[in-house]
Symmetry: D5
Subunit: 162 residues, 10 copies
Amino acid sequence: MKRAELTEKILDVKREKDLSWKAIAEEIGGYSQIFITTALLGNMPLPKPQAEKAAALFGLSASETKMLSEIPMRAEETQMPPQDPTLYRFYEAMLVFGPALKETLHEEFGDGIMSAIDFVLSMDRKEDPAGDRVVITMNGKFLPYKYHEPRDGAQASGAHPR
Amino acid sequence: MKRAELTEKILDVKREKDLSWKAIAEEIGGYSQIFITTALLGNMPLPKPQAEKAAALFGLSASETKMLSEIPMRAEETQMPPQDPTLYRFYEAMLVFGPALKETLHEEFGDGIMSAIDFVLSMDRKEDPAGDRVVITMNGKFLPYKYHEPRDGAQASGAHPR
Amino acid sequence: MKRAELTEKILDVKREKDLSWKAIAEEIGGYSQIFITTALLGNMPLPKPQAEKAAALFGLSASETKMLSEIPMRAEETQMPPQDPTLYRFYEAMLVFGPALKETLHEEFGDGIMSAIDFVLSMDRKEDPAGDRVVITMNGKFLPYKYHEPRDGAQASGAHPR
Amino acid sequence: MKRAELTEKILDVKREKDLSWKAIAEEIGGYSQIFITTALLGNMPLPKPQAEKAAALFGLSASETKMLSEIPMRAEETQMPPQDPTLYRFYEAMLVFGPALKETLHEEFGDGIMSAIDFVLSMDRKEDPAGDRVVITMNGKFLPYKYHEPRDGAQASGAHPR
Amino acid sequence: MKRAELTEKILDVKREKDLSWKAIAEEIGGYSQIFITTALLGNMPLPKPQAEKAAALFGLSASETKMLSEIPMRAEETQMPPQDPTLYRFYEAMLVFGPALKETLHEEFGDGIMSAIDFVLSMDRKEDPAGDRVVITMNGKFLPYKYHEPRDGAQASGAHPR
Amino acid sequence: MKRAELTEKILDVKREKDLSWKAIAEEIGGYSQIFITTALLGNMPLPKPQAEKAAALFGLSASETKMLSEIPMRAEETQMPPQDPTLYRFYEAMLVFGPALKETLHEEFGDGIMSAIDFVLSMDRKEDPAGDRVVITMNGKFLPYKYHEPRDGAQASGAHPR
Amino acid sequence: MKRAELTEKILDVKREKDLSWKAIAEEIGGYSQIFITTALLGNMPLPKPQAEKAAALFGLSASETKMLSEIPMRAEETQMPPQDPTLYRFYEAMLVFGPALKETLHEEFGDGIMSAIDFVLSMDRKEDPAGDRVVITMNGKFLPYKYHEPRDGAQASGAHPR
Amino acid sequence: MKRAELTEKILDVKREKDLSWKAIAEEIGGYSQIFITTALLGNMPLPKPQAEKAAALFGLSASETKMLSEIPMRAEETQMPPQDPTLYRFYEAMLVFGPALKETLHEEFGDGIMSAIDFVLSMDRKEDPAGDRVVITMNGKFLPYKYHEPRDGAQASGAHPR
Amino acid sequence: MKRAELTEKILDVKREKDLSWKAIAEEIGGYSQIFITTALLGNMPLPKPQAEKAAALFGLSASETKMLSEIPMRAEETQMPPQDPTLYRFYEAMLVFGPALKETLHEEFGDGIMSAIDFVLSMDRKEDPAGDRVVITMNGKFLPYKYHEPRDGAQASGAHPR
Amino acid sequence: MKRAELTEKILDVKREKDLSWKAIAEEIGGYSQIFITTALLGNMPLPKPQAEKAAALFGLSASETKMLSEIPMRAEETQMPPQDPTLYRFYEAMLVFGPALKETLHEEFGDGIMSAIDFVLSMDRKEDPAGDRVVITMNGKFLPYKYHEPRDGAQASGAHPR
């Protein structure tokens, strides 16, 4: 069984039972809707208690339930960049603003990155008479680049693991 | 003169005068630091009053000043995906969470996209004893997909522009 | 079930019943032929009343009918650029005239884009003794780029969401 | 001298003289603004009378003037797909609607293509209280595919040129 | 049913019945062997009378027969460039001689292209004591590029469709 | 000196002296216009007597003249596929008809290729009241694939060079 | 039936019957082991007498046997470059030594290529106390490039087929 | 000034002064040789005290010295995968062992990654009578994936930033 | 049977029997866990005694057991670079440090490579109060590049195999 | 100075002095012509005594001479696959015969590769009345894959460096 086949089955049941992601997330509980959706689509593992609730909801076999909790090969079949317009806009924002984000991040925090692992992401709706707005918040720990210190007594060139 | 050459000149002056982006943005004024940095790096035009301030700051010629206000060919030489680790993380977050963002957006707002044009983006620092965090907020207007209505009396197949 | 499999089924029934897209669009109604064709080929969702008519026409199951109304992953398996000559010409026109369209758009409307979301498209036949002509009209709302204004009291660099 | 260098010079003079494409097109005359812009950007040759007017306007040498009238290597350094958002939308519209355009074209005209050579393209502004709209019209001659007829007395397999 | 599956079936029957393309083309009749082979391989539609003869020859169902006459998505799964040595040579000839063909075409005919739509192609055997030669003749209508003329009274920039 | 720089110089002189390829080929003599053009554009070496005539015509230095006779790195900077419409059509014809050409070639000649080395190519104009036609003839020696015969007394697996 | 499926079947039987390529080549006979292996893997046709022996060995149907003798679409699904380390080394050797081979070939033989069609290839084991060596010998006919001679009386530019 | 030009200058001085990386690293001091080499090649910033020592060693201007301390666009012009055989082997090891490393990492540490930012790397020589060995040690902090917890009172779907 | 299908089956049984790679490696024995995992995932052959133990553990047929010991087409379907974040970090480390590793390797060992064939790789956990660390050790034999010596009496250009 | 610029200079002098690679290799001496040509083209370092002879022959500066002996970034700007027909044939031979070479190598030598590092390559001319033949011999040491043995007392999964 491939993880993509399990996703296809989940989407089939979701369609047949006329479930929303919101209802699914409430039923499974414990994590945000974005996280649970990401997991059911195959880019995050679902912790066991949640996987069991998902199994009940989607009628999964024991093996399928277990697969839901396995750490997946993330983004395995994803196009880069994606051609779907909704997805593409997220990348386009980074094409345009990414270089300035890098400069700003370095000036404010120093050399390093915003972690995409110790990272949470939320989406909110902001009402606006000129048209409601989508607000996506990316919140990642700043990770400073480690600079290698010299290694005493090392014969060859090399960095010193602390 | 190519826009990339002007960026190179601006970065040379920034280095020689030991300027920070923050100081540059305050000096130029009128727009956020992210916007001004994006413009100086060549992905946004700088409005004329700001371009004149930038000209004074960076010692630009009249022609260079004018180029700063031209609408640029955005992201022209940008790698997709980028190999710089700081930039790559922004794209990786979208590889992992993009599909769930799409599902959530559609469930909450219906069929459409978060605009990357009527769009503002900010970066903040959030202090945290476990390590400060980078918070990036993307705020774009929701744009619903327009579905074509039939065109009366049209001979051929086609959609009706309202 | 994958959306591509549903498209294949629809094309099989269309072939067996000897239906034209024009007849299909008239039967389903409510939207232009281009829109309905796009939806049946998997790049637009079909609104529910239309999906029910499509279900009757193509003999679809309840689940298939529901899938027709789901917001799809658009252009998922499309080649860029396409190798089919009919499709390639549309892209070639943009290769040749795209840069001038960008300059003209900016000079006439300012900085921004022609929306591909608030967008309708039609195709007409124009009779011509030297050979009839295909006329494709793209009609999209102009969306001006939003420039970030400064955020008062903001500690870090950033743009201000209105 | 490369054609791209000539384009760069033209854009430099345009900037220094503060010319609009509209003014340039009126000064050069004889062809639409889209055509003249396309030619000055290097994707079309400029007919000689127009090239001479362009030479006067931009201060070109005899050799540069002549190059303006040479048939260029079109779209030579163009990215496919482009990353500039304004350009990208033109391609995205084709990603979403291209397959339906192909079906509609074939049903209405038969097997063939919309020529991108015997082709004119215009852009108009359509006022709209909800936001003005960009209207792009592509108008190309329908070219039917030629099917080979058998060749009498031909020894090998082959098609018969009429 | 996908067009590629129909091609696979046709090749299976051709193998089982020990048919040559020459015999197939004679049996189906009406068009050159190159055209009929191209159609059976999925890059051209087969006109109905020919499709019926093909159906009898290959034992096709009504739906398969109809599919043979549908205008296909041409070259959909073709590699560019191909890795098969026989196919690669055709592309290599264009890599080496293409630029000179373009120059020669423009000098002889003016600005335009050799149509690949109003186009016939034949292959012949030319006996030669030093080794027989393959002669491929490409015969396409010259299509002159259309240059946009100005549009009277047009408000926006644009080209005039005749 | 790079070969591309020499091509650029030759095109500059051609432009300044207002030469046609036809006149150049007649002046240089000895080979077809297609061959001489291909050589001057950098995809073929020009034999020494012709290189000397070219040197006189274009005012080349001794070193440049010698470079003209060197066997070049062919098609070094050529795009595959090309985006210029005139060039693209040559490749498109092969996308559509290549598979049938391969089948026909094998049925008529057996396993092998049409050589692109022992190969000549010509372009002719064919007058036609419906529009003149471009006729390109590719003429290459058929090269049969060599099948390895066993090697007597060979220890390892392997083919026997005759 | 696809050729790749036949290869998969052959490899299944080879595994079940515990056959070596050496034993297979001896059983089938008439050609070198490299050739027979290449044919069974789908990159060469197997001559009929050999195909019949292969059919007996692998238990093939009449149609499968025939397919073994068909001229295949060579290297159809091969990665370029390959990621398997054993295969990659062959390409890497060409990356490093290819340019010098080209120079040496041209200096020794003149303008032309080493044919990959009139070509045999062998692999031998060379014992060496420092570790046995793999010796691969590529033996291809030198093919001189043909330079076009002028065509008398030809109106248009063109090369003369001899 | 581009960072790549500074690297070229540093390599020119290194060559002229006949310096080894080991001697350079000892002269500059404070960090491992791998780190200093990485910084001088443009993939790490050199802290200021070290940049000043580098400036003295390589005869850099004040602006060049400052650039050495700027956080660079890392790996900007690097090929992926590289074609240099020494570099390629590092990637090949990951092609072969990467999947098992992922499985092992997850089983031992749970869901997460080995950081490439809080990361040190060393190279050592290990003497071996059968041929000395290169030992590369990658040492990165394990970063566990953060799973989003639900956000109280949040209206829309979303993850809760802690 | 394809190797990827066997991997899928092994992962299915591993899931159903709730096995860890550690337990699997202990049960199969004789080789490191990394090696056994690599082999079961299809990038290394499993020696026969181990393959038999694996067969018992996973319930494999004789043919599947044999396939486990076959030398595979390594990394056949692997993305380069991978999009899974855990895998990507390994490549990113090489993007950043690869050039310095090459310089250091050459300075310490001379011209050559770290073998990826005579190569072992281990992963260890290093406890650290600031967060445990992943330590990956790559250990490969240094292979010096062989420089060709002249070949006596050789007529043509060439290198002398010792 | 870039290595490519030095190659360009060497080729300029070679052209001006009318030198053959054979004469250059004899003058420089000590290594095969293939090796010396590869080094002068930038894919191998030239040992110092040979670099000094090359310096005298080509009139190189001290710094250029030193660069000739530096270990280069091999194949840095090489196309993969190459479009030059002479180079392409070497890759095509591997596309067709590579899979069988892999099978034969493994059956004869076991699991491993033919080294491309401990590797020599020669080219010879073989006279043949039917046309002389190019014979390229690749001679590389067989390198067996190392299989990891278990590591005693190791806590984590891992392979044991011997």
